[in-house]
């Protein structure tokens, strides 16, 4: 990162607020706030304060995420470049993955293309009911989900269980232009707001990195956070307070920027040829 001109920073791991994204459940700290699920908010506040390219590598925390490829505490490498475009960050991510794995990344593709090729369904255009029917026909849908009309739910289900396992079989691959249903701090496409300017990298069916052209408009961020809070409330989940410090920083002015977060333990495990995280963790969640 030093060679690439990216400065290491340390933002707090205990934050007074928590991200609004409905898919992120944070761990509360007694009398302290929340353990961060990623350093995104802290890094963006530094960018708004005028920092150049910055990164943070260290532990992040996500409640309830334990499994073969998940550990509630894991190591994340996250970096941002002010005035960079998403393509610059994708290129840099591919270069890093190439250097670590010794493989040349597979040609980039879009979410729409990979989803379409596996399912025959267009994830942006097709009706939510058609997604649900496709999943049910293949016994992928949980029981009692007749009332589930959240498009993001069905996209996540099909992506995770049917599409993702096919991605990056021989070399890491970047998949771009994710559906905007769950986008919060991400720009959408200027000519199609159903598509987010977000990408993910996969290798051997495992998600390794997630990056974006970052949203700069504070008003849009506040609207989307409110939407996420409403969805959390409807699902009966905890609703953490909005991160007003981040919103204030964005109001003061977040420069156009792009960034990415990469799961270091997953990359290490795959490079070592393991089929789970446990062998690269001193003590995994079950043995902590």
């Amino acid at each position: 990162m030093a060679a690439a001109g990216v400065l290491e920073v340390d933002t707090p791991l205990i934050s007074t607020a928590a991200p609004a994204e409905r898919g992120l459940q944070c761990m509360a700290v007694e009398r302290g706030g929340h353990l961060v699920p990623s350093p995104e908010h802290g890094l963006k506040r530094l960018l708004a304060a005028g920092a150049g390219p910055i990164y943070q590598m260290g532990p992040v925390f996500r409640a309830g995420e334990a499994g073969r490829w998940h550990n509630p505490e894991f190591c994340m490498l996250e970096w941002y470049r002010p005035r960079a475009a998403i393509d610059d960050i994708i290129e840099e991510t591919e270069a890093l993955l190439g250097a670590v794995t010794g493989l040349e990344c597979a040609p980039r593709t879009s979410y729409r293309a990979v989803f379409l090729s596996v399912t025959g369904l267009d994830p942006i255009e097709c009706a939510t009911d058609a997604l649900a029917a496709w999943a049910r026909q293949r016994d992928l849908a949980p029981a009692n989900m007749a009332d589930e009309h959240d498009r993001a739910f069905w996209l996540d289900l099909i992506m995770s269980l049917a599409v993702q396992p096919t991605l990056g079989e021989s070399a890491p691959i970047c998949v771009t232009d994710f559906p905007a249903e769950d986008a919060v701090l991400v720009e959408t496409h200027p000519d199609d707001d159903r598509v987010a300017r977000r990408f993910e990298c996969f290798w051997q069916g495992v998600e390794l990195a997630n990056g974006a052209q970052e949203l700069t408009a504070a008003a849009t961020a506040r609207e989307r956070m409110a939407r996420e809070q409403r969805l959390r409330r409807e699902a009966g989940r905890a609703v953490p307070p909005l991160d007003e410090k981040l919103l204030a920083a964005m109001t003061a002015g977040l420069p156009p920027c792009a960034g990415v977060a990469l799961g270091v333990d997953r990359l290490l495990a795959l490079v070592c040829g393991f089929d789970s995280l446990a062998p690269v963790l001193a003590f995994d969640w079950a043995r902590r």
Binding site: E65, F153, L161
Partner: protein, 190 residues
């Protein structure tokens, strides 16, 4: 009603699905970075032994199956049911053919079996790994042949047929491995 949350899922956990008891064989936690979490689970139906794969929304709860194992003493077979007794409480249980299955050919009165109970009813009866049974019928022995090579069929007192060495005679008591259905040794040699 006891329940389990998906975050308690692991191999060996017993749950109720569509009214049947299932044993979790494998549990895979699946979640896109910022998206919905799922559990993709392989389960064995404890009544039919069939393995199915199901998806659960992470965080959901499912009913726990009241399934546990007891060591029970086999008493007798009445033609339809196999009767067992818990040796301390003297409580009796009757198991049907579906539960006893292949174990029927290995067990005789007083053998201790591991019995899987669901709501107090035997779901599965496992014969002891090794049993000692007398030979009721086999061709005459060949004196001096201790090699065990070749062998011959022998019918045991429970009706089971195993291959035994040529030197085994009718009336001898044998040690048998019930998992492989194989002769191990004469009972007094082990």
């Amino acid at each position: 009603m006891a329940t389990f949350n998906t975050n308690q899922f692991k191999g060996g956990l017993k749950i109720i699905l569509d009214g049947d008891p299932y044993n979790i064989v494998e549990n895979e936690f699946v979640k896109p970075g910022k998206g919905q979490a799922f559990n993709r689970v392989k389960l064995r139906n404890l009544k039919t032994n069939r393995v199915v794969e199901r998806t659960f929304k992470s965080g959901d709860s499912v009913e726990a199956a009241d399934v546990f194992n007891l060591d029970l003493q086999f008493l007798y077979h009445d033609g339809e049911f196999w009767h067992f007794m818990e040796p301390n409480s003297f409580e009796q249980y009757q198991a049907g053919e579906a539960a006893v299955g292949d174990s029927a050919q290995w067990i005789k009165a007083q053998d201790m079996c591991s019995v899987t109970l669901w709501n107090g009813t035997p779901l599965q009866v496992d014969a002891p790994n090794f049993v000692t049974l007398a030979v009721t019928e086999t061709d005459p022995g060949v004196r001096g042949d201790t090699s065990g090579g070749g062998g011959k069929p022998a019918t045991l007192e429970t009706g089971a047929v195993v291959r035994v060495p040529l030197f085994i005679e009718e009336g001898e008591v044998l040690k048998v491995d019930t998992r492989k259905g194989e002769y191990v040794s004469r009972a007094n040699e082990s």
